[in-house]
Symmetry: C4
Subunit: 252 residues, 4 copies
Amino acid sequence: MDQINVRWYVEDVCAHSSPVLIAGLPGVGHVGKLVADHLVRVLSAVKVAEVTSILFPPQMYLSEDAVLRLPRNELFFAPESANNPAVLLLAGDCQSTTPDGHYLLADAYIRIFEQLGVKRIYTLGGYGVGRLVDNPRVLAALSSSALKDEVLGAGAILDKDEPVGGIIGLAGLLITLGRLSGMEGIVLLGETSGYLVDPVSSTSVLNVLEKLTGIKADRTDLTELASQMMTEVSAIASTIQKNNTDDLNYIG
Amino acid sequence: MDQINVRWYVEDVCAHSSPVLIAGLPGVGHVGKLVADHLVRVLSAVKVAEVTSILFPPQMYLSEDAVLRLPRNELFFAPESANNPAVLLLAGDCQSTTPDGHYLLADAYIRIFEQLGVKRIYTLGGYGVGRLVDNPRVLAALSSSALKDEVLGAGAILDKDEPVGGIIGLAGLLITLGRLSGMEGIVLLGETSGYLVDPVSSTSVLNVLEKLTGIKADRTDLTELASQMMTEVSAIASTIQKNNTDDLNYIG
Amino acid sequence: MDQINVRWYVEDVCAHSSPVLIAGLPGVGHVGKLVADHLVRVLSAVKVAEVTSILFPPQMYLSEDAVLRLPRNELFFAPESANNPAVLLLAGDCQSTTPDGHYLLADAYIRIFEQLGVKRIYTLGGYGVGRLVDNPRVLAALSSSALKDEVLGAGAILDKDEPVGGIIGLAGLLITLGRLSGMEGIVLLGETSGYLVDPVSSTSVLNVLEKLTGIKADRTDLTELASQMMTEVSAIASTIQKNNTDDLNYIG
Amino acid sequence: MDQINVRWYVEDVCAHSSPVLIAGLPGVGHVGKLVADHLVRVLSAVKVAEVTSILFPPQMYLSEDAVLRLPRNELFFAPESANNPAVLLLAGDCQSTTPDGHYLLADAYIRIFEQLGVKRIYTLGGYGVGRLVDNPRVLAALSSSALKDEVLGAGAILDKDEPVGGIIGLAGLLITLGRLSGMEGIVLLGETSGYLVDPVSSTSVLNVLEKLTGIKADRTDLTELASQMMTEVSAIASTIQKNNTDDLNYIG
C-alpha cells in the first residue's frame, strides 16, 4: 500500500493547453472548497484523477444508497471555452492528518501538475477573523512580487502581516513548492468568521479569481447559498436583539 | 520486527469454501465485538491466524494465572453446517493507535481475505446517538448499490446522512479497500448510547446479520447479557426518578 | 542516524553465565527504577552497554558541572557471587515517546538479551491505586503458568483482573516478546499511590525479587529513602488532620 | 521529497577558518533567536545554506509584498575581523514538529558543521522561571567539564539541577551529538518569564557570549528593544498598582 495513490481516469486530457490550476480543499469556513466545488459543476469539468492516501483520515464517506467510498482529493479538467481558459480543479474531502503529510501531499500534487503542463496555481481558502464580516476582504499571497500589480488590480489585498502566523496547510505549500518547479502561484483567502460554512466569503474570493483568470461562470447556486446564509444570520441576529430587549423589559 | 505480523495456526482451512467474513472489533458500545466474540463461541470456530502489530497499543493483556499476551486480532473459521455457511470471523482486542495504521491494517487484512477466498465481508459496529435507545435501529453502508434490496429486506436502514461524518476506523476501510479487490461488503451499525457496553444493540445487529447470512446460532448468552443490561438500566432509571420525586417532596 | 543506537562498553562480559535480566525503568511511582538503580549500586554492576534512540524524548540531562548527556537506557552486569546469581540490569532515564516505539525498543532489547544468553527476565514497576498504601502488595504477571507456584511462593499476587487494563509499556512487552524468543519472564508491580516517587513500594518489590532470584543485597539506602518518605507522609497527614480539627473549632 | 533538504548558497566559504557555531532558534522568550538574528545583522553575515524540512510545521511565511516562503533554518557566515572570530550562525523560523524530528535535524546539522570545520558550538535559549526577572542570570550547560572555568569566568552559572528536567529541543541535542563528533559545546540559557519575547534576557546572554567568543558587536538595536520592553513592563506594572489602589479607595 503506497502512502499516496493516484488513479488516473483520463490521460493526456490537457496536453498542449497549459491549464491554470485552481485548488479549493476543506479549511476555515470551507471558503475554498465551496468555490472549487462550484467551478467543477458550472464548468462541467471532467474527472482526470483521484488521489487517496493513508495520510487522509480513516473516515469513509457515504454516497447515494449509503455506498461507502474512501476519502479523496480529485482533479477535474475543463477545456478552454468562450467563458474560461483551460482549467484544472483540485477539490476533495480532506487534507492530511499529520504535519509532514501536508508536505508529502503537496509534493505529489506539484509533480502531477508538472506532468499536466501547469504554469500557474491558484489556491483558495478562508481567513478566520472571529466575527461576522459584511463585506469580506480577499487577502492574497504570492509566489513572487512580479504578480503584485495583477493581484491588486483584481481587488485583493497584499499585507505581509496578514494572516498573522502565515498560511497553514496545503494552500500555502502548493505555492512555495510550485515555485521551486517554476510555477507562478497565488493564494486567495476570503475573510470569514471561522464559525460557519461561508458562501458569502466564497463569493468574494470568486470575484477576485474571475478577474484574475477570465473565468465567467454562472453563479446562481453560490449566490443562492450566500443569500440563504445571510437570511439565517439576520434571523439569528434579530432573535438575539429581541431577547436583549425582552431582558430589559423584564428588568424594568 | 515487522509492522504487522501474521501467525498462521491452520493453513488452507477454508480452501474451496469461499467463506463470508464477519469482522467485529472494539468500538462504540463494543457492539461489533460482542457479536463477533459470540459467534466465535456458538459456531465453535477454530483459530486460523493471529495478528500482532506495532500499530496496536503497547498494552499487554492478562489471561488465566496472570499470564501476559500481546494485544491481537484473531481470525477464526467455522465450516459450512446446517445452521451456517462457511464463516471467517475477525475478532480481537484493539484497533490501530494511529490514523494511517487503520489503512495499513485494513490493507493487510484484505490481502489475507483474498488468500482465503473471501467474496463477501460484513463489518459490525455501533453508532453512538448519545441517549438510551429502546429498540436500536441497524444502519447499513454498502460496497455497492447492488446490495440495497438485500440489506433493506433484512431490516437494516440505508441513509447516506447517517452516521453523520461517515464511518471511522477499520469497519469502513475493510469495505472500501475490499471493493478494490472485488469483494462485496456491508457495514452494520447498531444504534447505541455510546456510554455503555451494549448487548441490546448487538442483538439487533445479530438479527440483521442472521437474515443476511443464513446463520442460525444459539444466542442464550447474548440474550442473557442483554436482559442483565436492561435490568441494570431500569434500576438506574428508577433510582433517578425516585431521587427526583424526593427532591420535589423536599422542596415542597 | 539509526532509530536505536547500542554502544557496547564491554563485550562478552557474561559469556557462559546465563544471567537473569532485571529491568526497572521510569514509570508509576518510579517503583521499578528505584529498585534497578539500587541494585546497580549495591551489586557494583559494571556498565555493559548504553542505548540511545530517536524514540526517546529530545531532553538532554545534566550531570556534574552541568555536563549534558543524551537520555539513555543502560545495561549493567554483576557476575555471580555468594550473594547473587549472575545479573544483568536494565536501567535508565526514559521510555519511548510513541506507542510503536515501545515495541521497537522491546524488540531491540530482546535481541540483545538473546546475545547475552538471558533465559529469564524480571521487569519491575508500580501499579497506581490512587491512595496511600501502608503495606503495598506486589502483583505479578507471567510469561507462562509454569511460573505460578514459584511466584506465589515468593509472596506476589496473581490476579488476571489486576492491573485493570493490563500492563502498558516496556515492562509488559519485554515479557511477551521475550517468550517468543524462549525466555521466561515475570513482571512484578508494587502497589503505589501514583502521586509520589515511592521507595516503600520498591522495598516490597525488592522483597519478592530477592526471594525469586536469591539476591541478598545491602539495602540501607533504599530503607533510608523509604523511612524518609514515611516520615514526610506522616507529617503531611498530621498537618491535614490538625487543619481539619482547627476548622471544626472555628466552626464550633 | 527528502525529509531534510539543504540548499547551499555559498560553498567552501569558511574553509580553513574553523568557525565557531552560534545557534539561536525559536524557543522560550525567543531569547536565543533574538541574539542570533541580531548577530546576523550586526556582523553582516552572508547566507551559506538554507534548510527546509517536512519535519518543520506546514506553515508558510509571508515576506514583503506577501510573497510566500517555506519555513526554514538558515546558516550564515561572518569571516574573522577585528571585532569577531570566524562565526557561523544558525537562525530560523522554527524547530521540529515531532520528538524524533529534533534528533534527525540535530544530526543533519552536526554533519553540516563537520563539513564546515566547526570545532565549537554555542547554543542559545531561554529558561522560563514564571515571573519577571530584573537581572536575568545566564545558566550554562557543557559538553565537558574542561569548559567549566572558561564558562564561569564569563559570568554564567553552572548548576546540574537547573533547568529542572534538563534541556529540551535542538539547543541541547546539538551539544550532545556534537560531542560524539568531537566538537566542544556550550548551551547558554537566559532566565526569562516565559510569557514575553524577552530582549532583556537576550542582552544577558549576549554579554556572556561576547566574553566567551571575543565578539564585540554594536548592540544598539537589541538595547533599544530591551529598553522598550522595560518601559512597557513598567507601564503595565504601574497600571496594575494604580488599579489596586483604586480598588482600595473604592472599598474604603
